[in-house]
Symmetry: C2
Subunit: 251 residues, 2 copies
DNA sequence: CGTCCAGTTGACTATAGTCAAACACCGTGG
DNA sequence: CCACGGTGTTTGACTATAGTCAACTGGACG
């Protein structure tokens, strides 16, 4: 198993943070920025395939994804796994642990990924000193909720083909604002096993479904990654109207 | 169609609010209570089957459920419906509208239901004046997220029988802290169509699945309602370990 | 008495899962 | 150099699960 490689040497100040410069995130006020610089305790680099958080465990930290891909999942006792959502730059990890104590899901890195580290026990201080930042945390939580709502609709009421099309269109849209702009490649770094565990299908049936999407010229599959050729076509197959990703907050 | 019956005559002060007296909710400080009394603009009584919020629309208000049952759902364009979650006393309705503007799901009353009304445009004031209450909003949002995670696991990886058992155990557990203590009946007020739209199954197959749960003596079905006879058995069938419902915040 | 709604049932079809066998690719170590 | 195992993907044959269609029950209500 891969391990987390600690790297608490505090690379980037929030001022120079590439995410903070990305126009899809709202910019901090001077006071907020000063607080965040102090709130941030460091950075961590995690290798592809490593576990970032695991179900049933406590974590003293909150994280924001700075670069790379990860996913959240839960498992049943007999090993059946369900991917709940994917994490991309700007996403907050571990908020649920604040409410529950123990995590009720695990988080695993899909690519190598860098995380911004915050101490969970200072979160209340953030609410007290910067209500707008507190509100932003709620905003992000609510945004996650919206994504889960759409995933539920997908699992419950979309066919296998629609579900696959939705998932790939969704990930392509999400990466479009944060990953692809600063990257030469624009692939989605997942295996068909991940797709299967997200869609609630078997690997075999997932493979046959992906094949149908390829035959329609919507995507291309490259061992361990997917290239979206026609995002419009995917959205149309899925009956999905895309993300409403206006400017959003960042922690 | 039923309509919302306005009743803004401000029935109960927050001080005498039965929910505030329920030990499963954390109690307000004197300052918080004063703020909430001012923040609350009134109460609304909604009849069973009425739509409380609807997809694509704006709402100037946030609500807290005071009594009764409701559910959130989304639909695809061809009418396929997915129930996302159920709303019980103490649950916040409409938070997502704050983030998105338009609602991305609808909310419908399952029984007649009373709602506490808050003006959405004063929400930021709540964060500014009472950081602990702001944190509570995040807490509630995060709790909703946890429930959705479990529902996703259910839809994606549980069999029809397991899913049905999980749903009924879940609703029974949720009602156990807020509905049943103050009520003579302890039924879950849903039809098999609701169950089908929650589990992502057809009505026919749902009916056959429910029948199996009845044969095992876990539940009884009474036109338009379900009585849980053996919650333990349901949890065991579902492989579900129950809610971790410690003391939680209330707005 | 007829209508509507919720629930029930059986026959048949469609969708998805399971089992099994391969292939391609990529490292490792002899 | 090549044999080896591992992962990711592909395919076909067969089975299981769930959906569709259709008919029917029973109760509530005007």
């Amino acid at each position: 198993m891969n391990q987390i490689l600690p790297k608490n040497d505090r690379r980037v100040g929030c001022r120079e943070c590439p995410l903070n410069l990305n126009p899809c995130f709202r910019s901090f006020t001077a006071e907020e920025l000063a607080f965040m610089e102090d709130f941030k305790t460091g950075e961590i680099l995690v290798g592809a395939g490593s576990t970032i958080l695991s179900e049933g465990h406590l974590s003293p930290n909150l994280y924001t994804v700075l670069s790379g891909w990860a996913f959240r999942y839960k498992t049943l006792e007999d090993g059946r796994r369900q991917v709940l959502n994917y994490l991309l730059p700007g996403d907050l990890i571990g908020l649920q642990g604040t409410v529950m104590g123990e995590m009720e899901h695990s988080v695993e890195a899909l690519t190598s990924i860098t995380l911004c580290v915050f101490p969970r026990d200072r979160l209340m201080e953030l609410y007290a000193k910067h209500p707008t930042l507190g509100f932003d945390v709620t905003w992000l939580s609510s945004r996650e909720e919206r994504m889960l709502d759409e995933h539920l609709l997908s699992l419950g009421r979309r066919s296998a083909l629609e579900r696959a099309a939705y998932l790939l269109a969704f990930l392509h849209a999400r990466a479009g604002t944060t990953i692809y702009p600063s990257n030469s490649t624009n692939y989605i770094p997942i295996t068909q096993t991940h797709v299967a565990d997200t869609l609630g299908l078997s690997i075999v049936h997932t493979n046959k479904t992906i094949k149908r999407l390829m035959e329609r010229g919507a995507i291309r599959w490259l061992g361990g990654a997917c290239e979206v050729l026609d995002a419009e076509k995917l959205s149309k197959i899925a009956g999905w109207h895309g993300l409403d990703e206006r400017v959003r907050p960042l922690l």
